[in-house]
Symmetry: C2
Subunit: 346 residues, 2 copies
Amino acid sequence: MPNEDASSPIPTDNPVVVEVTRGDMVESRHRAAYAVCDGEGRVILSGGDYQRPVYARSALKPIQAIALVETGAAEAFDLSDAEIALACASHSGEPRHVETVAAWLARLGLSESDLECGPQLPPHAGSAADLLRAGRAPNQLHNNCSGKHAGFLSLAKHLGVETKGYIRLEHPVQQRVLGILESMTGLDLSDAAKGFDGCGIPVIGVPLGNLALAMARFADPYDQPEARQAAVRRIAQAMAAEPFMVAGSGRFCTEVMQATSGRALVKTGAEGVYCGALPTEGLGIALKVDDGATRAAENLMARLLDRLGILDEATLARLRARLEAPLFNRAGREVGVVRRAAENPF
Amino acid sequence: MPNEDASSPIPTDNPVVVEVTRGDMVESRHRAAYAVCDGEGRVILSGGDYQRPVYARSALKPIQAIALVETGAAEAFDLSDAEIALACASHSGEPRHVETVAAWLARLGLSESDLECGPQLPPHAGSAADLLRAGRAPNQLHNNCSGKHAGFLSLAKHLGVETKGYIRLEHPVQQRVLGILESMTGLDLSDAAKGFDGCGIPVIGVPLGNLALAMARFADPYDQPEARQAAVRRIAQAMAAEPFMVAGSGRFCTEVMQATSGRALVKTGAEGVYCGALPTEGLGIALKVDDGATRAAENLMARLLDRLGILDEATLARLRARLEAPLFNRAGREVGVVRRAAENPF
């Protein structure tokens, strides 16, 4: 469990970290908690109440994917980098995402109807419009979580268990995933708060600091069992090799992994969560915006990466628009910016 | 200017008023400031820093529409209730909205290309899908502000000035609108913060309490000049008569005005603003969610209406899902709720 930073007591109110301006004025403000941890649970940098449990939502996908690789399922089904990256993805439903998941399921002898994530219009606006223009309806393959679900189905097949119901907490697939989450966060989660994610799988409340610890162990699994070390390195390598598959066109996750050449592996989650792993530094990052806003989570993650010295000059040049993100109106005029709040120290 | 409530000093941090649960836990929290005022500027109910300036965004549309009616433009062009309601609208771009604005512009001898709001895919998902399925592209008529802009064009025509550039602060149309805003809020706004709205018109920073005062004067314009009184009553009557035109299918504004039969006239704005006028009570409401979330603004407005005794049993039955709004995942399972924060007194 991450150590407390003795010099700064945990505040009840999380600090305002991001502000959104319009013209002469700050229009909106976002609060967040964040923690950067090393592999021994030392908190290197923090703000707000990082001991409060949060649902990591989709930001947990790289940790969840460990089960797929560690059990040998990925090897047994000869999964590619693109497929493993999709298992860690909240993809935008662009054709390459959808086609890759469909081909993967076919190789398992399964199809779209075996997914239990529900249908979703592609998050990528152009792909959604193309689908509708073609007179087609969105299906479960377009769901941003379809790659993660294909991973769960692969694991069920490999374990030799019934695939149906693989999203239920008591199913062997979710139990395996839960066990890995407990070991990576260093927590017994049997009494943790629970709920259901947008795609139907369980979500488990984990203190933000322990999420950062899990990400630090993902960044550098030096003290993990050998199979875990190999699995984590395989996943990290796949995310770095196929950043488009983890998110999509114009998406922050994809852009950061491309710009840093995998020196920062980052993953977004719903309701303003972001996790990151810095393999070279052996550090893990976890943040949660109080109100759930993605625009604030992205801005804070960009600034944390900058603060941690991950962004060299060339990378900074590519990510500058993420540190101070301009807002445009429908006529294309720049009307404001998403940026560091005046109150925030970095 | 609204009086301060001497018994409760203005806090710097706005209170947490809305929480979003998932399963066993609160997942996200929203802070807001709010003020309920009578026509003499007495603050009846408030929370947070209601003296901080905010951009009212589209929540100001009913006030902006006063210029259209007060000058005689609405009468000269024989505007219907539906058209006046559209001048106050952030409509969903459903066919009836779009067709009504198109016919109105045609009567002015103008067309879609005279609008300066920019194109927008209809906010109503079904209408957007139908448009794309038909192989058509969204245009400026689909912009949720096209009715307000048709109102501005009507005013320009009636004033006998150039229509081009009607969105610019120095244009006679915007100057007329600004003058009305100053008189309704009781403020000299020449030094107020300014910026541009999503649809290109100026936005002006106004303390939330003064917005509530403007809405109280809109609710009951008893002390206003005769032409203003008549204009406000005409607009209020049009909004009550055509609530669909003010927003659209399944929208909170439409639902509230339908359920209360116009006893509460409410109007949403971007970045978590909501304004309301209670004609029978002579009260005005203004609220702004710090982080800009619409889900929180709607929930707080519903609860303020309930707290103010506007919702009788039949109305409550229709709006209950707005006071505790269930959240569903893509598979249709109820996974959480948007509700009163534990910290909030009502």
